[in-house]
């Protein structure tokens, strides 16, 4: 190595070190990533921007890595149960998930993919303060949020077997990431924010794009597709879809999801404008009531405006309809707000 410049020597040394680590999961700053890891990352997010120099990169372990690991066999079983619940949440339909969604309907690739809101960050940045409910949440409460809003359901009880399995799966995906690794620097966290569109997002352009590029799977009426009674493609609106309190009702969240994940198998192929227009169209459709509903949609919008609804169309008039102005809590549901969504203060 004596002929190499100090910088190259450092790089070669780091690559050697990286090569000595497990071949699969990686948690390193971008400058330390091996060519192999960069290639894996590019494979996981085709067409996405590569990590910037200052970003923290983590490639979550796979099921094969789990099998090869030396974790306690009992723990492996729990993590596998978490994976199974995550990728087939419909098995607990009518208990926890009252709509037609699975966790991986939105967190694609079993929650591992960059820009598909990978779930490992939750395991290392929580407990933390969350503006959405204005209090400190732990991982179980965060998962309960998903069940209450995105799945329009009743979360598994805190400390229950299923909750343990799901949180263990999250933590396993975060293997090797430092606890409280600052969230803002994580590569591919969330769905990725798009720059503002050149033209104002347009409902009618969104409808045209939807019918050309989305309806083949999700249906012209947004009801998704089932086969032999099982959900194949999730509904995007209506009684069996996410409710008005789900994060993805925020236009920037849906636009980021669409751009970086849709159509299936073709991430980063739509233009930013198409993604914004689609979000405008899809998130202007009716869906089950926000569990935080006070009985008055405009009041509810105002109450959760700053932390949430300023990014949604809830409580606004679109195409002559006041969105969310109804008492429909969705299919299979006979309550508005699950008891798990409780508040706490340390005053």
């Amino acid at each position: 190595m004596k002929n190499l410049s100090p910088a190259l020597r450092l790089r070669a040394g780091l690559m050697l070190a990286a090569g000595l680590l497990l071949a699969g999961p990686m948690s390193l700053a971008q400058a330390q990533l091996s060519e192999e890891s960069l290639a894996v990352l590019a494979g996981m997010a085709p067409g996405a921007a590569a990590p910037a120099d200052n970003q923290f990169v983590h490639i979550p372990p796979t099921l094969e890595d789990l099998e090869a690991s030396n974790l306690n066999p009992e723990l492996k079983k729990v993590i596998l149960r978490g994976y199974d619940l995550f990728t087939n949440t419909q098995q607990v339909r009518e208990r926890y998930s009252l709509n037609d969604m699975n966790c991986d309907s939105c967190h694609m690739g079993a929650g591992r993919l960059p820009f598909s809101s990978p779930v490992w960050p939750a395991a290392v940045i929580l407990p933390n303060y969350r503006p959405k409910n204005d209090q400190v949440n732990n991982i179980e409460e965060r998962i309960a949020g998903c069940f209450s809003f995105s799945m329009n359901g009743e979360p598994p009880a805190y400390g229950s077997d299923d909750m343990l399995a799901l949180s263990a799966y999250h933590q396993w995906l975060a293997k090797g990431v430092p606890v409280y690794q600052p969230g803002g620097s994580m590569y591919g966290r969330g769905f990725g924010k798009l720059a503002d569109s050149a033209e104002k997002p347009d409902y009618h352009r969104g409808k045209a794009t939807y019918e050309a590029k989305c309806s083949i799977c999700h249906g012209e009426d947004g009801s998704g597709l089932k086969a032999r009674g099982e959900v194949v493609f999730p509904p995007l609106w209506g009684d069996y879809s996410y409710n008005w309190g789900a994060g993805i009702t925020r236009l920037f969240t849906l636009a980021g999801f669409v751009k970086h994940n849709m159509p299936i198998g073709q991430p980063n192929t739509l233009t930013d404008q198409e993604a914004w227009d689609l979000a405008q169209y899809i998130d202007a459709q009716e869906r089950p009531q926000d569990p935080r509903y006070t009985g008055d949609v405009r009041e509810t919008r105002e109450l959760y405006g700053e932390s949430f609804h300023k990014h949604t169309l809830y409580g606004l008039e679109v195409e002559g309809r006041l969105l969310g102005d109804h008492d429909n809590v969705g299919a299979n549901k006979d309550f508005l707000k699950p008891e798990a969504l409780r508040s706490r203060t340390f005053n």
């Binding site: 690739g109 099982e230 194949v232 073709q266």
Partner: protein, 225 residues
């Protein structure tokens, strides 16, 4: 001599047009018996029971029994128009009119799917394991979406666009994936299949074709005690 007024002429044209439309609607109802008769044409390759055939290291003809009727109609129309290219299928598709295509598709759709088309002994354990992975959990590190994401539970098909691929012949699945990879087949909506096929290695294609060919082509009938 009197001439019909323009108004009368327009009216009769409208009546004629609606009669034609009504007639066309009536004709698109499948006629299974006629379909069965026309299916004689297909039996030489696809077999009378629609189970198709797979000759190791040679040709492979897909099973049609129990496949979605609308999917088969679309494929036949695409063979007929040349949108889907196949030297053996094109002349046969051209012999059928639209009504015959509907009839013959309905006939094969009505036949029971074969339970198993291939024996696991023909493939290595490694191949089958990789094939199972691609079919049911995918390989997201290479953005290979699991087959079942679109082809439905147990890969037995979803709607009229995503056909059953479980219980399909090895050679047929392999050849189709290769065709998509090489742009020799492009009648999939929005290149949904092509995008995935292009991320697969030759070994991946062999593996997934192997696994799917060993899987049941239909939901097992309920056992009655």
């Amino acid at each position: 001599m009197t001439y019909p007024s323009i108004r009368q002429a327009a009216l009769s044209l409208c009546l004629l047009a609606s009669a034609v439309t009504l007639n066309a609607t009536a004709q698109t109802e499948p006629d299974l018996l006629k379909g069965q008769a026309d299916a004689a044409l297909c039996g030489a390759c696809h077999q009378a029971d629609g189970s198709g055939m797979n000759i190791p290291n040679a040709d492979s003809w897909p099973r049609l029994a129990g496949m979605n009727a609308d999917y088969m109609v679309q494929q036949l129309l695409d063979f007929k128009s040349g949108k889907r290219q196949n030297v053996s299928m094109q002349p046969f598709a051209q012999m059928l009119n639209e009504q015959q295509i509907i009839n013959v598709s309905a006939w094969f759709a009505s036949l029971p799917a074969p339970v198993l088309t291939a024996n696991t002994d023909s493939f290595t354990a490694e191949q089958l394991a990789r094939g199972k992975q691609l079919a049911s959990t995918g390989d997201w590190n290479n953005y290979i979406v699991p087959c079942s994401t679109c082809h439905g539970p147990d890969n037995l098909g979803a709607g009229s666009v995503f056909p059953a691929i479980a219980g399909q012949h090895f050679g047929y699945i392999r050849d189709q994936l290769q065709n998509w990879q090489q742009d020799k087949r492009d009648n999939d909506p929005q290149q949904l299949m092509a995008a995935i096929a292009k991320r697969m290695t030759s070994d991946d294609i062999q593996a997934v074709a192997a696994w799917l060919s060993t899987q049941p082509g239909a939901v097992a009938p309920q056992q009655t005690p």
